[in-house]
Subunit: 411 residues, 2 copies
């Protein structure tokens, strides 16, 4: 497997790989490209950027340092490290970036983030490799996405490279918090909030960017636990002309109610549908993939295209590039309507269905409840399943078992 | 005019008025009614309610009191009174409600409000009447809407009557902040935020409800200034299966970018369209009304129905009830596609177009820019225009010139 990944690096430099997906993407992206180019024209790095070279570090005294947790018992997102990164912005530009002890934020009760959801975030991880070295995975992609989202809600711009440098320094300071385990990691949460203390739906003239860190344990403690999904056309996550392709807080608030509807039905996650043909778009907060046997009897991996309704996941993009690099079967970005999905399943041509995201890497799906009918998906019954192969390869890169240009050392 | 308003009170008790709108509303609401009834089944007052009888009041010392501003120069939402109301919630229920000096909130950087927009608000006003008495306008409707929105994002429930009692006490304490002017008022901002300090898209198990107050000057300082609108189908505010009919922060964050696109084109507000037929839905943060001459040559007032895409405005509902009470012309709740709107305009049957909301009461519209063409709307050229009559009547009720059951005294 290591060989095929290394092959990818060589192949992905050429154009054939890119051409594979471009045609279908372009067909769906056209109206959005126009939208984004307008966006890009607005504020190219308005307010400049903060600089790593001006980073101020103030460490917590020993009395403030918390004991490191037992990672095997960690619940995601509830345990934080001792320090955070923060930098404030106003119309005069960025203030000095700081690393300081983790602390509550003092926020005016009229701050725009509390009323109009002028906020966005990203999610990534630092891994302690088998060689003891600390690695990030494609942090440039996360930072580009954060920047694009910040532009989408008129929050300030910054140089992603400067933010990555500050982030590396924070991770280095918190190095001891990174679990010594090949199933655990340090979750990194960069966040941008609009802090302008004024009511009225308008751009925030004050903002803050910060990073907090969480050690996280294994997503699947004892082997894979496939999930069952609620697919209810009543609930729609994202729509053309909205903001479903950037990581704004707005995309998440309205979903907790729907997630609860799934749980109330004994299901684990929501399968988000869109349109009259009930296209499958995302699962919970993950991108989706299906592996099918197509009309020619060949295997084909399909994921919905980046047509504006889909969050452009870093794991999604990496899986596409990885599997295309293997060059073993067709890889396609196109919409999948529920009717086709159920027909593939009926004809026993639907082999696997899985979610992909930073939290779980891949998450196999074994059932979909649609309009009151539970449909079993045979993801767990495949021999040498693709989802497991993808997970092993990505894990190999994360933890340094496979050397890859996607890995970025924190040193 | 006072007489017709009083007539309304008597008429609205009967059923004919309600029947007028019911048929069209039901036709569009059906799928959403099902949705809401599910919602209502979830958490009837889970966690109980806080109680006005347990309200704790701690007043600011004289050194903290700010000078009252000159209301004629006030910019909306930037000047706050000396005190605020706050009450915290966790899974064990509500803590004691408090009135205390206005202060920054201490919020954990992982709080769900900062990442997933678990937040909502409402907007209402207190008026100093011509008789010197302080009045609220239908506060029960705002509080019911806040409660419904809180349910929509699984934030805690409360008894609206208890909140109104606490709010009245706060307003009484800040009475001197209410401008002595019939064009100014005290803006009231109740807000609910999810403060649970844990990452992961899930219900917030901690929350806070607070109220802050802003004195606000006249919306139109020197007579009416009609606005011109950008109507661009690329941007969509709300969609079926979303949350556009509750006042979640999520509905606003993605709009500031679009508002700026309007301003960049020299226009003041966004006209939000929906669907293949480009239905007119809202303007900025206001509901919309058009007054037309219909196919029978009669005047007809039309506003989009509450089919899930529209915020159920208190001003909207009051205008509908008021004008129906006048019984002078037809009042209809139905979608208005852009094609029909432009045809009405072309045939000179489009008489008035105005927005309606708490901030401006009514806001006349004189132009719409749609697909690169500026369409002039003759709202300002009508004799004895409806928007002005509506404004005068509502203002009469707000400031106690017209006695009405919608007024609630703060005493």
């Amino acid at each position: 497997m290591a060989t095929s990944v290394l092959n990818l690096v060589i192949r992905s430099a050429g154009s054939p790989l890119r051409q594979t997906g471009l045609k279908s993407r372009r067909a769906f992206r056209l109206p959005y490209v126009r939208f984004y180019s307008q966006q890009n024209a607005l504020d190219p790095l308005e307010g400049g950027t903060f600089k790593f070279s001006e980073l101020q570090v103030s460490l917590a005294g020993p009395e403030l340092l918390k004991p490191k947790p037992d990672v095997s018992n960690l619940i995601f997102g509830k345990c934080f490290t001792d320090h955070m990164f923060e930098v404030e912005w106003n119309v005069e530009g960025w203030g000095p970036p700081r690393i300081c002890p983790l602390h509550d934020l003092n926020i005016h009760p009229a701050a725009k983030v509390l009323h109009y959801a002028l906020e966005l975030f990203d999610g990534m991880k630092a891994y302690r490799g088998v060689d003891g070295k600390i690695r990030l995975f494609r942090p440039d992609l996360n930072m580009q996405r954060l920047l694009r989202g910040s532009r989408r809600c008129l929050l300030p711009q910054f140089d992603p490279e400067e933010l990555i440098s500050c982030m590396k320094r924070l991770i280095k300071i918190e190095e001891e918090w990174i679990p010594h385990s090949e199933t655990s990691s340090l979750y990194i949460r960069p966040t941008v909030i609009g802090t302008d203390p004024s009511l009225g739906v308008a751009r925030s003239m004050q903002a803050m960017l910060y990073i907090i860190l969480c050690p996280v344990g294994p997503y699947f403690e004892t082997g894979f636990k496939p999930v069952n999904l609620l697919a209810d056309p009543k609930f729609v996550r994202s729509w053309p002309g909205g903001s479903g392709d950037v990581k704004l807080g707005s995309n998440y608030g309205p979903t907790v109610f729907v997630q609860r509807a799934a749980e109330n039905s004994g299901l684990q996650q929501v399968l988000w549908l869109y349109g009259d043909d009930h296209q499958l778009t995302e699962v919970g907060t993950m991108n989706i993939f299906i592996l099918i046997k197509n009309a020619n009897g060949e295997k084909e991996l399909i994921t919905p295209p980046l047509h504006g309704l889909i969050l452009p996941g870093v794991t999604r993009q990496s899986i596409l590039e990885l599997v295309r690099g293997w060059n073993e079967f067709k890889v396609t970005e196109r919409p999948v309507p529920m009717k086709e999905f159920l027909q593939l399943k009926e004809e026993k041509r639907l082999l696997e269905f899985f979610g992909a995201g930073t939290a779980c890497i891949v998450c196999p799906i074994s059932g979909v409840s649609f309009l009151g009918v539970n449909h079993h998906i045979p993801t767990m019954e495949q021999e040498d399943p693709l989802y497991a192969r993808v997970l092993n390869t990505l894990s190999g890169i994360y933890y340094g078992r496979i050397s890859h240009e996607w890995s970025v050392l924190v040193d």
